[in-house]
Each structure stands twice: as C-alpha cells, then as structure tokens.
C-alpha cells in the first residue's frame, strides 16, 4: 500500500475519532502562489505552488495533535506535478514531561540535523534534564510521500540537555547515519551556553567526528547586550562534511577557521550595525564587511564589501516596507553587486528590484502581489510576477 494512502487513512481516523469523542481544533493556512516568468527558451512559464499546513488536535488535549506541511508544485510541465511533504507527524504529549512523535519531521537538535522519517521520544526529568531520542530513516531528497528503505540510510540520534543554575545549560548529542550496514556519518556534539552576569551571553560548542577521528566543528561565541549596545565575537572552525562512504574521503583537506565580529547600536528607532568576517584557509584568506542600518517599521539598508579568496565584491541592498494604510503594506527591494570571482578577472554586475503590495483582511486572508526584475551576466532583463493568496484558518 502506498504511504500516502496509509497517511490519508491516518488523517481520516483522527478526524473521525475527533467527531466521536470530542471536538477538534484545526488551525493552519492554505497558500496559493502563482509565479510567472520567462524560461530558458524565452517562453512564458506559469508555475503554481499550493501549500497546506495545519495542526489538528482534540479540543481538550492540545498535546495530542497531527502536524503537517505539504506542497504541490506545478512548474510548467503538465505531466509533472510535484508533491512534497515537509512535515507530517503525530505528536502525543503525555503529561508535562513526556512526548512521543512519529512521522516526517524537521529535526535540529545538537548534531542531529535534517528532515527525517522517524519516531522520537522526549522526556524531562526533575524539570532540569531533557532527553530526546530519535530513530528512523532519512527523508527522500525530493520530500515525496515515500519512506526510504531502512538499508538505504537509517539514522539514530540522541540529545541530552541539563539546565544549570543561573540560566545556563549543558548539552550533549549523538547522531549516526548508516547505509547498507556501514556507518557513514557518526558525530558526537557538546555545547555549553548561558549567561555570565546579566549582559554577557556565551555559547561554546565542539562536535567530534568519530569516523574520521577529528573535530567536525567548533564554535565559541560571546555576545554582550546592554540597553542600546550589542557586541559579539565568534570563532568558528569546521571540517568539510564528507561522508565516510564518499569517494572524496580519500583526500586530506584543510578546515577553515573564521573570526566574526558584530556590533549594533540603537540611535532612537534606528539600529546601526557593523559586521566583520575573516575566514582563514591554509592557503588564502577572505574578508567581508557589512554595514547596515535598520528600523523595525521601515526595513533595512546595507552595504557589503568582500575581498580575498571568495572574490571581490562591492554592493548594497535595500529591503524596505511601509504600512501606508492600516492592513495595506508596500514593500520594495533593490540590490546591486559588482563582483569578480577569485581566479577570474571578469567583472560582473548584478542588479535586482522587487516591488509589491500586500493586503491583510480580517486576520484571515492575505493577498500579496509583486513584480521582480533582475539583470546579471546571463539575463539582461529577467522579469517575473508573483501573486500569493494566504488563508489562515482556525476551525
């Protein structure tokens, strides 16, 4: 039997038992996108994306629910409607301290990373210790309503978090992937995070790759937040993510190391920001500076400068919006980049515009329309249109 049929029966059974025993709450949204563009053959193409996300739960038991996020896409080819299930899981919260979850879920905890078709058990002990365990298979790359064979990519992971005094916590996690009875990814991660005093937030993380017997990633960060000021410094080091069964595992490669610094300051209702990234490779370096100016109400503007291994790049972006009448919002985006990739001496320009209008009606319907235009070394004038209707429902 196809998984989609089993899942449909599952949804139906939830709806049915909801009617029998108690009322159910359903909330979510339905979103239709119509995207008009000119394709590579200079023909007009109409793409259509239909998204559906909802959560269904018995009225008196919000901890028992089914959560979904699915999308149907039509991209110019009538023979190929693409169906994708990004999320489709049932959640059962047992009391305040236990949870069981099964289905397709988007999972990011510690070193466990990705969309998986799995079962998860989570428990909290003494209000301080959290335990999560997950087992299943990797979701298909195209997110179809299919479940991969166990042998062709199963995953197993665990996450443990302990809350320390003064808003600090320590986390340990483990994740492995196995294909044809061979482990091809096995990582252990640990992190410590929290506050030093009232203003200083820290984050320390170390991930170790068991198969390659070396560190996989390190990140150490400090952020100081006080009234109008925010200052942050970070050190990253990361090995390339090469699975053990990849041909490329035969090569010895260098990790990159990076220093990031960021500062922001509020002047009235305007936030001024400055970021600096310095990335070190064994044979080259890369520098990037981003200066930005942002307001909560009107959007942001930024200037980017990059030089080094990544290439040469000077540009700006402006992402602006304004609610000119209640519920009517206009937005505008413009960016310009003049860049030259490393190893070439070809200078290229890329300009982009986007302008649109959104209308929200009764907190239930949002209608948005926008035109997009970009020009670059490949397209002198790429012009597109997007119409979107979102319906937020609560039944």
């Amino acid at each position: 039997m196809k998984p989609i049929v089993i899942l449909s029966a599952f949804i139906l059974s939830i709806l049915l038992f909801g009617n029998i025993t108690a009322q159910v709450n359903i909330n979510g949204w339905l979103q239709s996108n119509l995207y008009v563009l000119e394709n590579d053959q200079e023909n007009q193409q109409w793409d259509f994306y239909q998204g559906l996300q909802f959560r269904i739960a018995p009225e008196n038991h919000s901890n028992l629910y089914l959560n979904t996020f699915m999308r149907l896409a039509y991209r110019g080819d009538p023979a190929e409607w693409q169906e994708k299930a990004y999320n489709l899981y049932a959640n059962w919260g047992i009391g305040k301290n236990y949870r069981v979850r099964i289905g397709r879920m988007f999972y990011y905890k510690g070193v466990i990373n990705g969309t998986i078709d799995a079962g998860e058990i989570a428990a909290t002990f003494w209000g301080k210790l959290q335990l999560h365990a997950v087992i299943g298979t990797e979701s298909p790359f195209d997110r179809k309503f299919k479940i991969k064979n166990w042998d062709n990519g199963n995953v197993l992971g665990g996450y443990l978090s302990y809350r320390l005094p003064w808003n600090n916590s320590i986390n340990v996690s483990y994740f492995q992937k196995e294909r044809f009875s061979e482990l091809y990814w096995q990582v252990i991660g640990s992190s410590l995070q929290g506050y030093l005093g009232k203003y200083l937030n820290y984050y320390l993380r170390y991930d170790h790759n068991v198969l390659s017997e070396q560190y996989q990633a390190m990140r150490y960060r400090l952020i100081f937040n006080k009234e109008k000021w925010s200052l942050g410094a970070e050190y990253n080091a990361q090995q390339p993510r090469i699975y053990e069964d990849s041909y490329f595992a035969i090569f010895e490669v260098d990790a990159y190391r990076q220093i990031r610094a960021i500062g922001t300051y509020w002047v009235g209702k305007v936030e001024l920001g400055l970021q600096y990234l310095y990335t070190m490779y064994d044979e080259d370096n890369d520098n990037r500076i981003i200066a930005s100016l942002g307001t909560r109400r009107y959007g942001s503007f930024g200037i980017v400068y990059q030089t080094g291994y990544g290439g040469e790049n000077v540009g700006y972006y402006a992402d602006l919006r304004y609610e000119f009448i209640s519920n009517w919002t206009a937005h505008f985006y413009n960016s310009y980049y003049k860049f030259e990739r490393a190893l070439t001496s070809i200078s290229q320009d890329a300009v982009a515009f986007r302008a649109g209008l959104g209308y929200r009606w009764t907190n239930r319907f949002i209608l948005e329309g926008e035109v997009q235009q970009s020009s670059n070394s490949y397209y002198s004038n790429d012009f597109r249109g997007l119409m979107r209707l979102t319906y937020l429902f609560q039944l």
Binding site: F106, I242, G273, T279, D286, Y309, T329, Y337
Partner: protein, 284 residues
C-alpha cells in the same frame, strides 16, 4: 514493518481519544470584567497592579482577596456568595504558571500597548473562564506583521539562529513566534519569499559559499541539489580554464590547491560522477 508501526500507533491514539472527554477545570468564582471595566470604568491596574512591573510570565498577577477588599466588604460572611459559588471551598482562579515564562508585562506596557491589545475582548466577559489568555496569533499581530523582533535577533541572526534552535530549551522560545513551517520556508522552500536567497543569488552565491558567509550544507544536505543546476544547465565554474588540472605526476595544478581549501565545492558536481572525472588520475 512500517505498516505495523503505523497501525500500532493508530490503535494507541484511538484508545487515548476515548479518554479525551474530560473538560477544562471550571472556576467557581463569580466575576464580571464587563461590570468592572465597562460599567464602572475601572482601570485594569486597579486589580492587577503588579502587572506594571512584572518581568516574568510566572509572576502571579491575579488580584488577591485583599485587593477586592479595597472596594468590597470581604470580611462579611454574608457577602461570600457575591464572588464565590462554592462557599464551602472558596478558591482563586486556576493559574497557568508556565504560560510564556519569559513574558514581560513591563516591557509591553512600556511600549505603550494597552492591555486589550493582547487580552482582546476580556473587558466584555461576564464570567470567569480559566484560560482567558492571549493566543500566539494575537502576539503575531505585532511580532510578525510589524516586525517586532526579540533582542537576540541581531543583524547576523541568520547565521547564529541555528545555535538557538539546536538547543531544545531555546527552541521553545523560537516556538512562541515560529512554527517549523517558518524554518522550512527557507530551509526547504522554493525560495519564493527570497528571505535567505535574494534575487540574483543564483549568480552571486559562489561568493557567499567561498567566503563562508553561510554554510550551504546546513540546508542543502544532499549535494544533488547543486547538481540540478550545475549539470543540467551546463554551468561550469569560472576557474575551470586551461591548465586547471595538469597531468604532471605530483603536481595537480590549480585544482589541487582549490580542492585542499574547499573539497565540498568539488563534490557539489563531481560526487555523483567521480568515476568519470576524478578516478582517471586519483585511485583509491
């Protein structure tokens, strides 16, 4: 196997559903917000005075009987029935202490929000319902539509937010405003929103990738994602020019240096066809 698991899960859910009849705990208090707020024009702070300085959701902001005593004769035994329907066991409203533990009333009042902005319609209520609390949707009116962000959302939060999500404790804070759908719009979406990858990103993304502004592999865990464009549209990297890879033993030329720096970049295209390209010179 999977069918059995789903079937078992269905059975468990069905059994659970039969036990799902219990209702919410009813309050025995007799109280009309309408009478107090609309008819007698009392401010919310008359009864909920502590709200003004409350910085935690866990704070108890329910009025005590003493505060009722400012206007009513709470000492009189004959008056008990004015507020309590169960005089043998009078008690306060059932509290939900873990509702948004970090919520600061003070911060929101300082932002000049009226109580009714969140507790919409409470002033018209004539009975006490146990959970007259705003829904997340109500928060979204400001936090999403007007783009009011928490302090942690610095300009480079796009880079650091993953660390918060990876921590189960902080993830709960994310869930106050965001569902996983919000994450997936960028992480797995069709990029219609252009939030992560703006227009023209297809032409400038190599600068980000090489400069490590973003870690592509966080979202594009399968490199076949890159193949879709690079191979199908015959997009060759600009650096693959004459002399890119020479055949002099022990000297791979420029490509050897590039690969040492960023092998993932090579793998984007060549992982699925390494036998045609790499194995010719490199053997296991």
């Amino acid at each position: 196997m999977m069918r059995k698991i789903i079937f078992l899960f269905l059975v468990v859910m069905l059994i659970f559903s039969w036990s799902a009849i219990a209702g919410k705990e009813k309050s025995e208090l007799i109280f009309s917000h309408k009478l107090h707020v609309i008819d007698n024009e009392l401010d919310c702070s008359t009864c909920h005075a502590e709200a003004e300085n409350s910085m935690k959701g866990a704070d108890n902001l329910m009025p005590s009987m003493e505060s009722c005593g400012n206007c009513h004769d709470v000492e009189s035994v004959e008056e008990c029935g004015l507020c309590h329907s169960d005089m043998d066991n009078p008690r306060n409203v059932p509290r939900v202490a873990d509702y948004f533990p970090k919520f600061s009333h003070q911060q929101h009042l300082e932002a000049e929000l009226a109580c009714s902005a969140c507790h919409t319609g409470i002033e018209k209520k004539e009975i006490v319902e146990p959970y007259l609390l705003p829904k997340v949707d109500d928060c979204q009116v400001c936090h999403t539509q007007k783009n009011v962000k928490p302090k942690s959302h610095l300009p480079n939060y796009q880079h650091t937010h993953g660390d918060d999500v990876r921590s189960a404790r902080l993830e709960q804070s994310c869930n106050l405003c965001h569902t996983t759908r919000y994450c997936q719009m960028c992480h797995e979406g069709d990029n219609l929103d252009r939030m992560t990858h703006p227009l023209n990103y297809a032409f400038t993304h190599s600068l980000d990738a090489r400069g490590r502004e973003r870690d592509c592999n966080v979202c594009h865990t399968e490199r076949s994602f890159c193949i879709e464009c690079h191979v199908q549209n015959l997009v060759m990297p600009h650096n693959h020019t004459a002399g890119w890879a020479n055949t002099i033993p022990g000297d791979g030329g420029r490509h050897a240096m590039e690969a040492r720096i960023d092998l993932e970049n090579c793998m984007n295209c060549h992982e699925q066809n390494y036998e045609l390209t790499c194995v010719k010179c490199h053997s296991k």
